[in-house]
Amino acid sequence: MIQSKRFAAYLKRIPSDIKKLLKEPFLLTGILLVNVFLFLFIVLPLFKIFQLSFEVEGHFSLRIFYELMSKSYNVRPLIHSLTLGTAVAILGTLIGFIFAYAITRVDIPWKRFFSVTATFPIIAPPFMMSLSAILLFGKQGFVSKMILQNVVQFKIYGFYGLLVVETLTYFSTAYLTLYGVLQAIDPALEDAALDLGASKGKVFRSITLPLATPGIASAILLIFSQSLADFGNPMILAGNYTILATQAYLTIVGMYDMKGGAALAILLLIPSLIAFCVQKYWVSRKSYVTVTGKPSSTRIKMDHPVTKYSIFGLCLILASIIFLFYGMVFFGSLVKLWGVNHTLTLNNYRHVFTVGWEFIKDTLLLSSIATPIAGILGMIIAFLVVRKQFPGKRLMELVSLLTFAVPGTVVGIGYILAFNQPPLVLTGTAAIIILLFIFRDLAVGVQTGIAELQQIDPSIEEASTDLGADSARTFRKITLPLITPAFYSGLAFTFVKCMTAISAVIFVVSGKWNLITVAILGSVENSDLAQAAAFSVVIIIFILLALWLIQFLVDRMGGGRKIKFEKPEAIQSI
């Protein structure tokens, strides 16, 4: 009832909205352009996949899915992906919760250290963990060969290997989500429970945990979709444990079966979309955590020695494992020939900067072009969505956030389908990579921009209009400076994503334009582990440099606010 009434009111408003728009040609052009871009580079590729897999001789048909489902080697990846996703989501959320709880609620030492450790996987290339797993537990592995002398065989290729590396890669998402949720719970609530006679354990069970439940559900769903979309790790470690994302790639690249690949992509898309919708429209609405003015006091931290040191110990063990994995890649990058000759050398880096220089150059160039464009476009969309009235606004928001939900493999396939033929032939160009970067990571900028704008009183902008500025000038002179911190956070995040992207771009790289991540994957497949390690370290160094640079710029211009990866949704995978 209310829905239909609202819709009727909405319809009634359209003519006056359009009339208003016509008076502001600049705004109108802006909206039209954004819509064209969103359609071309987000909707069209997806549509192409659907078209290819559902259309048989010009008619709608589900035949391809019958064919797919009738063959066990196609059903298996679906089951595998879902099983792995669920397992990673649960384990990753558990570890994320332990870190978040320890840091927000327990009086442990080294909080900053743990917090940095728990967020580090976000800026590292996601498949570094797999590389490290091979360096540690592979046939020539540091642990398996050097320490255990091959007495124990580790089954790192397959489910368990993937479970470990994906958990270690994606638990950061849970950590950030739950850190935010646990921090936002008013300390007075826990104080009140304590005050009424509850023990610390009872406070945890009856107050903290129930209030954190929506956050936990959110974290599980986010990690689930990240695991589904993960491409790099399964490429390296899956073995016979076939996974949808990689299987779709191999079907297209290895068997030249476009139709089959597209259909697998749709199988991958469906659970991702479901997880996204449940997370966005259901779980996030259940949240009890509300911002109610100033927190009344500092939080009392658990300081009972037994609890304190057992949780501290647990964190220490987890942090050591993370360090061991990343440290091993660093060590591996300095070794002559992994598993055979462990003399230290800088040869790998020499190789990276000579033979691999083209990759580095391309990656840096393309990322640097895409990052600011994605950032600005994101802010423009956020501004339009929050502040302006025009028909199709909600749709614009939804489409720009859709990239969160669509796994990179699906987007990659969509791009080769859409831009391989006229009117837009982009295959093999730098443009297709840049476009992919921009529209893959657009959602981050949009999301942070929306959140920031909603906190700025519209009357500030109204004042500017009142004094005679038009929409464009107001946006440039008033809005943009106000959302600068969010803008820079978005930039930092987008750059990291571009530098570490693999799942979508692997479809569109070419001999002329290639990327480091693809080179790493190639090196691992050729068993050039040391070189792969050196490439990974170089990526991380460039990312840290870029983050430092952006932070430097913010300090100079933005009044010293810290760049933060604060939006948990922003950590959605490639």
């Binding site: 609530l189 429970a193 304590l194 009424l196 009872k202």
Partner: protein, 361 residues
């Protein structure tokens, strides 16, 4: 029997700030004795240590030094959940995932009371705070005043030995604040609940309290009934903090005899009574409240010029410049006494019996 019900001895709290290894003294040598059923307010500007003191009584902060006795038992080391105190929080701190009934029953259920008794007591208290029959409502849908009542009920239902209030009315609008103030005081007196109340609102402190503890920078400035605090402030800080606007003058004791003191200011001498502790030559500060000055057109101890007039109906507030000093003056009942205009010359008269003298250190 003369033993105090709640006794606080030399309570001190020092924080070590996170960044520099600097000690910050939040509360210093706090001493207080409270009788059973007494209502005491800790009053002071923000950052004066009143909330820290309250949280130490509640067991949320552990004192650096000092002792707290409740009903003759030392409670320093008893954790908050085993302490017989209950707090009403500034943010109400209602559990958002429970309904009203569950919120109020939380403490009783923890004590494993039989279901029937829990139900009976919760319903009784909800009736008392005017929320009868609303037990099933989720707390998210309540108005500020209703949330406040739930918070009060949740604390009171446990029948604690001391009820603690942490600025509970600061989130309500002025009218509601006024009503809740009276409501709290009535319930507190009816059930004879020993209460410690923290606020920075002096009007709130005045209406609610048996005694007020005025704090500043971690230390107690004065403990006394509302009348004592207003009429006989012990320090200049108290005189300035309590009351809307306070005028100060400095004077010198020129003659001190038993029962009569001569104080000189503005080159004139005035007699005061009841300051036997003053000696000749002492410097004093005169605390002159706005209502202790009368204006007349003809004669007074000094002449001045009206510089600002604020007409409020029941009273008029003036700012008058006299002897190079601006005085805040409040005149009640302007309909009868008439109103002066800006720029008019007036004469000031002091109500010497009401003026209070503070000896300067």
């Amino acid at each position: 029997m003369n033993q105090a019900y709640l006794e606080i001895k030399n309570l001190t709290k020092e924080f070590v700030s996170d960044y520099q290894e600097e000690k910050v003294v939040a509360v210093k040598d706090f001493n207080l004795e409270m009788k059973k059923g007494e209502f005491i307010t800790l009053l002071g500007p923000s950052g004066c240590g009143k909330t820290t003191t309250l949280r130490m009584i509640g067991g949320f902060e552990s004192p650096t030094r000092g002792e707290i006795f409740l009903d003759r038992v030392k409670i320093n080391d008893i954790p908050a959940n085993k302490r017989d105190t209950c707090m009403v929080f500034q943010s109400y701190a209602l559990f958002p995932h429970m309904n009203i009934f569950k919120n109020v029953a939380y403490g009783l259920e923890l004590r494993k009371l039989p279901k029937a008794e829990v139900k009976e007591r919760v319903e009784k208290i909800l009736d008392l705070v005017g929320l009868k029959g609303l037990g099933n409502r989720p707390v998210g849908q309540l108005s500020g005043g209703q949330q406040q009542r739930v918070a009060l009920a949740r604390a009171m239902v446990n029948e604690p030995k001391v009820l603690l209030f942490d600025e509970p009315l600061s989130n309500l609008d002025a009218k509601l604040r006024f009503r809740m103030r009276i409501f709290i005081r009535k319930i507190q007196q009816e059930f004879n609940i020993t209460s410690v109340y923290v606020t920075h609102d002096q009007e709130e402190a005045m209406t609610l309290s048996d005694r007020i503890v005025v704090m500043n920078q971690g230390e107690i400035e004065q403990i006394g009934t509302p009348q004592e605090i207003y009429a006989r402030p012990r320090t200049k800080f108290v005189a300035d903090f309590i009351g809307k606007q306070t005028n100060f003058l400095t004077g010198k004791v020129v003659g001190a005899a038993e029962g009569k003191q001569e104080v000189e200011f503005w080159n004139k001498t005035f007699s005061f009574k009841g300051y036997d502790h003053l000696k000749g030559g002492d410097k004093v500060t005169l605390v002159i409240r706005p209502e202790m000055i009368e204006l007349s057109a003809k004669e007074g101890i000094c002449e001045g010029e009206v510089t600002l007039v604020t007409y409020l109906g029941s009273e008029v507030n003036y700012e008058v410049k006299a002897n190079h000093q601006a005085f805040a003056i409040q005149v009640a009942n302007p309909l009868r006494k008439g109103v002066f205009r800006v720029g008019e010359k007036v004469c000031l008269n002091f109500d010497l019996n009401s003026i209070y003298l503070i000896k300067e250190q």
